[in-house]
Amino acid sequence: MIPSNFNYHKANTLKDAFALSSSLGEEAKYMSGGHSLLPMMKLRFATPTDIIDISKIEGLSYIREEDNLLKIGALTTQVEMERSSLIEEKYPIFKDASKLIADPAVRNCGTIGGNIAHGDAANDQPSLMIALRANFVVEGPNGKRNISVDDFFHGFYMTSLDPSEILVEIQIPQYVDGSGSAYHKVERKVGDYATSGAAVYLELDGSEYCKQIGIGLTNVSATPMRLSRAEDLLKGKVISNELIQEAGKIASEDCEPSSDLRGSEAYKRSVTNTLTKDMINAALGRAK
């Protein structure tokens, strides 16, 4: 399959990219790794008039701790996340996810920023962002602004990014003692979208009370989903087995999956229940 006609433009700097976007208009699309956008173009689900290649822009690929934040440049590839010793040591949830995102050759191209900005609830990074309460730094012709993850995903492939804006940095609260995180998804085979996935981040105080918790779900609703009711249930409490059972039940009730090739709605609710419980337990294990 060959995508339908479009004009390719390479941006060497963010300024270049914004200038191209301003002159080409709203039917132009930015491309980073291209492993979500190009398949859609081949299938004619997306038919942009112009592609602005931002993958060669320098200075947008990094993973560092600064100002009490973990800052990840949006062009950091999934493989760079997978091989980072900082990630391995302190942010294991990304390691869990990296291994399950597409396959190794695709991860050589795919970027964390693209995975998020694509706005697909089936992608894995969005639910991690929800669990970790990420802040997104986006830049456009009129400068930079911050968007909280809870204001970012609007609908099927819809985000609050303006067509001329680029997600440039992902910010996550820096690792603190007593925190733990975990992600897993059920997939039929490597490279498939998730049947369901759950991302959990939590922080415990010295007496094991849950100070902070975030739970994000993959591919069980039109937009990446925050499991607010289970977060409210667990926050401020010592997380007991009974509470975990209850959180799993909430997950199965509140998710909004539809029946498809990956399973019936009822099956997906059941998988979401199990994954949510398992990931709370895994995050607790890592926090202690």
Partner: protein, 159 residues
């Protein structure tokens, strides 16, 4: 829209004109007549089109040729030095690690990248390492054995 691109393929520098929408795999097969790189699923699932772009294994069916401007590409045709099989090719031969052979070039290219980052892999790591390459003859056991053999031989070579 046409673009002039210059890149190195299997050590040779070339300059060609390509259309914006030309896929890298078509460029390699049709413009350069290097047909060892196969097209299988055409949707970045099967890995038959795997090549090395600046040393990284990528699926050439999901990459625009124009984006490869300035890069260095290695395909299956470029790995046997002076007619001597690459250690991974040799291991595939020794272990009978191919049946119909359609997936073989992609798996070998992927394995080069994989072994460079994990020179001493376990069987499980090998299976994860080639998880984006499908063999529909399902000859995985011998493929895994071949990659293990190649790992051992390449390790000995560098010592």
């Amino acid at each position: 829209m046409k673009h002039e691109i210059t890149l190195k393929i299997n050590g040779e520098s070339i300059t060609k004109e390509v259309d914006s929408r030309l896929l890298l795999v078509h460029f390699i097969r049709e413009n350069l007549s290097l047909t060892g790189t196969h097209i299988g699923c055409d949707t970045s699932n099967c890995g038959a089109c795997t090549i090395l772009l600046d040393g990284k294994s990528i699926k050439a069916c999901t990459y625009l040729a124009v984006r490869a401007d300035g890069s260095e590409i290695t395909t299956i045709e470029g790995i046997a030095e002076d007619g001597t099989n690459h250690p991974i090719q040799k291991a595939f031969h020794d272990q009978h690690a191919l049946h119909c052979g359609f997936c073989t070039p992609g798996i070998i290219m992927r394995s080069i990248d994989f072994l460079e980052h994990n020179p001493n892999p376990t069987e499980e790591e090998i299976r994860w390492g080639i998880s984006g390459n499908l063999c529909r003859c399902t000859g995985y056991n011998n493929i895994v054995k071949a990659i293990k053999q190649a790992a051992n031989e390449m390790k000995n070579e560098t010592v």
